[in-house]
Amino acid sequence: MKKYTFTEKKDTRSGFGAGLAELGKTNPNVIALCADLIGSLKMEAFIKECPDRFIQCGIAEANMMSVAAGLTIGGKIPFTGTFANFSTGRVYDQIRQSIAYSEKNVKICASHAGITLGEDGATHQILEDIGLMKMLPGMTVINTCDYNQTKAATIAIADYQGPVYLRFGRPVMPIFTDPDQKFEVGKAWMVNEGKDVTIVATGHLVWEAIKAGEQLEAMGIDAEIINIHTIKPLDSEAILKSVAKTRCIVSCEEHNRLGGLGDSIAQLLIQNDLVPMEYIAINDVFGESGTPADLMKKFGLDDLHIVEAAKKVIGRKG
């Protein structure tokens, strides 16, 4: 098992803030919009760098999304910032008609996604956003795993034509990816090569998968770990190549098991190479208040659950 260490922990939303600030310096067409959550989205550095290219929208997300769509006409690249819940469910029709169907170059940047939003509870913990966004034709869906990857993705999507949903979160997490990485939309990252089981993870679950891989190694199981940061378009080749070798797979995501990354992988496997699969995901329930770590454990998203799923799926191999 390849060794991953970290010296620092940060939230992925701070990676977004750092990437956005970088774009403030390098890309004059980038416009940032926010619905009264500047601090939560870490947009202060961008605003300091280029105050004229920041648009405060107030608590009115529907208007923000459609304003963003209009801003693209004339060449601007709007980045909207609010919580994932208010970036998707609340404004689905605006995104559907004015952004996706109209093929507008809007970057929907969503923080506080998933259960790890924590103490605010289920009203704010959206677990359906990946599904909502990936069902829209033409929408690219990205869920990043640490500070460095989020920063790199934020910078990369400015040069990627078309609507993008960029999903990140609130809790501090280990920083374990390369600070100088080049983020390639749609290209899986091979975290660890192995032969016994494929573990595909996205977002905060990537670190849990690495911890699980280390525990599996101690049990004599050689896990291949793949980070799918781009859920749509899915890197089908990387997944099929891996299962051709391991013959079983576990998908890991901080999302409802209905409609997320796991379902995309299941669809791929059904049509190409049917191998046993297990899901690490929220089991079609709403979340609740608690610390991110306690919630990950309670809802079955931590390393221990991934280890159990891996053992189970290996047992299902013919």
Binding site: R53, I55, A60
Partner: protein, 283 residues
Amino acid sequence: MNISDQEIKQLEDVASQVRRDIVRMVHSATCGHPGGSLGCTDYLVALYFKLMNRKPGFDMDGIGEDLFFLSNGHVSPLFYSILSRSGYFPTSEMPGFRKLGSILQGHPTTHVPGVRMASGSLGQGLSVAIGAALTKKYNNDPSIVFSLHGDGELQEGQNWEAALFAPHHKVDNLIACIDYNGQQIDGPTEKIMSLGNLKAKFEAFNWEVIEEPKGNDMRSVVEVILKAKALTGKGRPVCILLTTQMGYGIDFMMGSHKWHGVAPNDEQLALALAQLPETLGDY
């Protein structure tokens, strides 16, 4: 700007042909929305054939030209006739309206030359127009952004988010016109969900508001647009409350919500066309 009687007559002739196109398209599709389309015909004719600064051809970014956004997308037959008659695509596309394989979908899409935003799901166009107007400012482009909205559409809450936003951000290169016909699908607006005093509402939101009670009189329409243009660039967005009659131009369709979304049959089409001179040649 002085507009001669002859110019007004020319615009009225265009409007007559556009109205023929509308009823013919809706008849051919056996569905669609003739009422509102006929009611705002004069406004769009005045814009596209006289008062908008448009560049030849179509470029999505529209830099250096005035832009128009249709928020009440169900008046698509009007929009398509206007776009076709002003050169964005051949009139031979019009028979395809609402039919399989045609670019002319039931509601406008960005696949149609001249259309910069899909609309149909109501209440989004004002925000979109504001966004495009802001980009004009970022680009130091002095052109104006126009938008058109149904009055019933103002029942959608997003309009009022946008109405707050535009004056706050001094979007003063925007002229939003409300097609004030007092009708919606289920009946008179006053009965379905009263809009109250719209002028006072927009003024309270810090907009410049102009009322035009004669929204189907071409000279009045031209003059109110000129007046609105003169109010741009003064720190506030501009709203025209344009009183129109749903179904205008065809006696049995006028002033009733019943023709909001109903197609005429063969006999009704003949009666309608008899009231509308063919001025530019039918498609």
